[in-house]
Subunit: 450 residues, 2 copies
């Protein structure tokens, strides 16, 4: 590391990987740090939660992404602190953590940096709603998506085991938040209940299962135009989703959701798609955060008051006007993260080469889209093109497949989808839980039955 | 259940599912019970352990297998006891167990049967070797295979995090047992180390990684002919596997393996492929077990002393001569389980229809095969055909793909394999652990870094 500057990138998501790629041919050493050894394709997590895809379909090993770039290394670790004076991060290597959960890791390691790019993404924001942190299930990480799927399957298995008599709310899923994630998970869940579960659970009256989508604002998909909002709502209702707008959640408990209006819905599964904030690593770094725990950056995506420190993607609060985009703050989209990653990689490369720094970060908005289910989506491109229904769904499908990092994942996802599309019989309904790994770890037999 | 007899099948493996299918059009109600909600394609578990396939590629939901048979239901439960007088099983429904491990389930349920088919498979047998149960990793269940993969990846990550200086034995894998499973996992692990890890871990001297295959007998693949044994050994050695025959394991600890000869190999990963016994459910049922904890059955696969109770597959001790096959006891092969399942299904169907019971069970031996790695396998068909090398590997590949239950799984596995074959870059190196699910359950943010 003597002569070449060392760039540390925190987070192997859309932004972090783009930044690493932009630096691959620059005369710097790069270390990407992530607490998972894989990147997650977050736009498809809702498919994992609704048993349409397997966990591995939307995850890709970081080292596989980086293997073409021998100067870019990976560190499987969690950042727990920083010494700004010596420019050294304090890490806990995940490989030193106890193998099967239960108990924190003890050893701390350190990692020196010349340049630091914080690209650690976001985390759920429960906005302090009582009971939400304990009983609602977010959809921001792969583990959370698998958790939703396992839980829904468990409730249906429990109802089947009870001779077809579900517990109160056992077959009800409430989705809180009517943005793209909420709309996507509600639509896909309703399809799972309508098309897949009736044959899976012949002893259950699956028609009694409910999906309720709750939104505090007067309409779904607030970022979209009126026609898209209407199309989304009509499509969801046609799929059997109960859409509740103008309804705010007062509290959540193990048995259901209570609205501010006083109404209560019995539900043993509550999915929280209502809010995102910056990942908590900003606290470990002691950086100034603004709205929603996001790190404040200047027009060059630098962290004010710190030398050669940047923040990009969901963890950064980027002023939209400074970036030439409408609105207040840039939204938490893959496009924002990727363009930010590329920009910061270029900026560091220029500095390393002694060239002039690029001008302020400009965000090129390509548009927004959300899928509502099988052959239904809404697309609003920034060039004015608007699509609804099947054309929008095909556009959404093509774009997401194109996006998926790693060609193997792309092909596997396409295959899975194509097959599901034909037979409505996803093979992704595995309940594979920590208990299973725990059993194996203890050396106790875990084969077949018994 | 009033008029129609109720058949309960314990275990959703090769034998149990075949038996259920044979009963699908018979005037009986069938309940398949398994403690997983999926069937495992055990012949490919070694691929999961060596990061060639994802967990979901070799698992298929039981309800997906059964959905064409509305009279066959599934119960996700573990059997903990039986009342032979009332013909009632005591179960613990897995859906009632705590969601994230730690703590046993409390509620017991019961399930009455008229006919009982015990098809619960096997479990690892450590033969009382000191330290094996604590430190060696079996390869009999999906969770165990994922456990091996996670552990090996963790050791390499730990070595990378330590600046390329691995702990003693950190990059050494010892495989105990030179049967087909041991040969397969050793060969695939050596290929992973030779072809995949060098590019994944540029900071490690991966050439120092070792795979040691230990066999107590004087040769590998004892069930095969001399030429196959030689081919297996030569191929493994060419792949870099250290083959140690005539060497018995005295003890295993966290740091390595000690042989009876006194020699010691430092190794932080020990895979146990040396022995299988009947699944422990035979104890919960209080049935007589013979060699290796397998349930003794008569020539009709019935359990002596019990009315309308059968045992099939790995959990049954089937006299080979009575079944018209060479040897002592039928081996633990998928073929034995499937033929047994079909036979018992037919026998129960005959009884339900008031027809005469079929004659004694006859086993049609089709032959044995084992893969040693990329384009290397040994095949010995019972019609005398012998194949080695690439032809054997192609035969092995085709047969296993044909076998894989569930067409989606088959296509996905084929795709994965084909891709790996071309680029040596499996996307299956995800470390996805209980800790991840635990975090999600507690409502703590688990997104990206931090």
């Amino acid at each position: 590391m003597a002569a070449r500057p060392h760039v540390v990138i925190l987070g192997a998501g859309f932004g972090g990987l783009r930044c690493a790629e932009a630096l691959a041919d620059v005369a710097v050493d790069v270390t990407v740090v992530d607490r998972n050894n894989f990147s997650t394709f977050q736009p498809l997590l809702y498919q994992v939660a609704t048993a349409g895809l397997n966990a591995a379909d939307v995850a890709y090993p970081v080292r596989s992404s980086l293997r073409r770039h021998p100067r870019v290394d990976f560190r499987w670790a969690e950042v727990v602190g920083v010494d700004w004076r010596t420019r050294t991060l304090a890490l806990v290597d995940q490989s030193s953590a106890p193998e099967h959960g239960g108990g924190a890791a003890v050893e701390r390691a350190s990692l020196a940096f010349d340049h630091l790019v914080v690209a650690a993404g976001g985390a759920v924001n429960f906005f302090g709603v009582p009971g939400a942190a304990e009983h609602a299930r977010p959809l921001y990480s792969l583990a959370e998506a698998v958790g939703v799927r396992n839980h829904v399957l468990r409730e249906f298995e429990a109802a089947a085991a009870a001779g077809g008599r579900p517990a109160s709310g056992g077959l009800t899923v409430v989705v809180v938040g009517g943005g793209p994630t909420g709309v996507e998970v509600a639509g896909a869940m309703a399809e799972l209940f309508a098309k897949v579960f009736p044959a899976d659970y012949p002893s259950l009256d699956v028609a009694r299962a409910r999906v309720v989508l709750v939104e505090a604002a007067p309409h779904l998909l607030g970022a979209f135009g009126a026609k898209s909002r209407r199309h989304a709502r009509d499509t969801l209702v046609a799929k059997g989703v109960e859409v509740r707008i103008d309804e705010q959640v007062a509290s959540i408990d193990g048995g259901g959701v209570t609205f501010v209006s006083g109404e209560r819905i019995e539900a043993r599964t509550v999915v929280w798609a209502a809010g995102v904030q910056g990942a908590p690593v900003s606290r470990a770094l002691g950086l100034d955060t603004g709205k929603g725990g996001r790190i404040v950056v200047d027009a060059h995506l630098r962290v004010p008051g710190h030398d050669r420190v940047w923040a990009i993607g969901d963890i950064a609060q980027i002023d939209a006007r400074a970036a030439g985009a409408p609105g207040d703050v840039l939204p938490g989209l893959a496009q924002v993260a990727m363009q930010g990653g590329r920009y910061v990689g270029t900026a560091i490369g220029a500095e390393a080469a002694g060239r002039a720094a690029p001008g302020p970060f400009r965000y090129r908005d390509k548009g927004i889209m959300a899928t509502i289910g099988r052959r239904a989506a809404v697309v609003e491109l920034s060039n004015g093109v608007r699509l609804w229904g099947t054309p929008a769904w095909l556009a959404w499908l093509g774009l997401h497949l194109l996006f998926l990092s790693g060609i193997r994942n792309r092909a596997s996802v396409l295959l899975n989808w194509a097959w599901n599309y034909v037979v409505w019989n996803p093979a992704s309904r595995l309940i594979f839980e920590p208990r299973d790994l725990g059993r194996s770890a203890s050396g106790v037999a875990a084969g077949g039955q018994g």
